[in-house]
């Protein structure tokens, strides 16, 4: 009884069909073309777009823990770590409220902090976008970074 390729194709198609149908009907469907950290209402920009914004003087926020910020960050970015949001937000609030098009980033894959910080800012009436894939996207593009606690 040889393995029939046609049957394998049927199994793969059936599983794909049921999976997509379940995703559409289960009430907890995901946006298929995105990653799990992106929710409806989130706005992401590419590293290239972020670079252009940085050159225009747009405010960048680093959502990673402060220790990461001090190791290396995007020049001019201010630390607004997700794990210590309230304290840093209180300090930065006047600056944030007078800024437009804020860009938030964190460590990319496996890091949800930038999305969480951007949402917290939005809840407080401050629009912010997320740098897609965060720090790795920035450094892999060869864009400038800065070490130390100073922005």
């Amino acid at each position: 009884m040889p393995v029939r390729v046609g049957r394998i194709a049927v199994i793969l198609l059936a599983a794909t069909g049921v999976g997509l149908a379940w995703n559409a009907l289960s009430g907890q469907g995901l946006a298929l073309t995105r990653n799990a950290y992106v929710r409806a209402g989130d706005e992401e920009i590419t590293a290239k777009e972020a670079r252009a914004r940085l050159d225009k003087g747009i405010l960048f926020l680093d959502a990673r823990p402060v220790a990461f910020y001090e190791m290396s960050h995007i020049p001019g970015a201010l630390p607004l770590p997700e794990d210590d949001f309230d304290k840093h937000f209180a300090k930065l609030e006047p600056r944030l409220r007078s800024s437009f098009d804020i860009v938030v980033y964190c460590s990319g894959f496996g890091c949800e902090a930038s999305h969480l910080v951007a949402r917290k800012l939005k809840e407080r009436g401050i629009p912010a976008v997320v740098l897609s894939e965060g720090w790795p996207a920035w450094t892999e593009a060869g864009y400038p970074t800065r070490e130390g606690a100073q922005p």
């Binding site: 794909t16 995901l30 073309t33 897609s132």
Partner: protein, 161 residues
């Protein structure tokens, strides 16, 4: 190695393998978002990942159902060899994924093997070993031809036809 072709062994391995796949699919189907997060952490699916064209979410939506269908087929015996072939391919894919994160030093924290919530085991050598065990079971179901019940009692084994 005549015992390998014993129908009871073949039956037990098929159903056991199928049950593992069904069990592995349930929590992922129930909690798609949690599973999608885990898939994303492997850095293999997603926009700037190794397999950049496959969105992590689409993969996370389809994979558990493929596991479930393969599991049901293995348990029921319908299209068993085809299901075993897919199971083997999936396990090879899992082994590559686990090998990749171990090689890259990526901490996935939770392998997303059977459950997606709470504390999970990470990627490591024990995971590689259990995947290899399941892969061996899949290849067994795929390749070994069990003796038919009638021929099991015959003195001469039936030549593989």
């Amino acid at each position: 190695m005549r015992w390998l072709r014993h129908p009871a062994l073949y039956w037990v391995v098929s159903i056991g393998l199928g049950a593992v796949f069904i069990y592995a699919s349930l929590d992922k189907i129930a909690h798609p978002l949690d599973f999608a997060r885990i898939v994303y952490r492997y850095r293999l699916a997603g926009p700037s990942a190794a397999l950049g064209v496959v969105p992590a979410n689409a993969f996370a939506v389809v994979l558990p159902w493929l596991e479930a269908v393969v599991g049901v087929l293995l348990v029921t015996g319908l299209w068993r060899r085809e299901a075993a072939a897919i199971a083997a391919a999936l396990l090879v894919m899992f082994l590559i994924a686990v090998g990749y994160v171990m090689w890259q030093g990526i901490d996935v924290e939770h392998c997303g093997c059977f459950t997606v919530g709470g504390e999970g085991r990470g990627a490591g050598w024990t995971l590689i070993a259990s995947d290899l065990g399941l892969l061996a079971a899949s290849l067994y179901v795929l390749l070994v031809r069990p003796r038919t019940v009638a021929s099991a009692s015959a003195a001469e084994p039936v030549p593989a036809a």
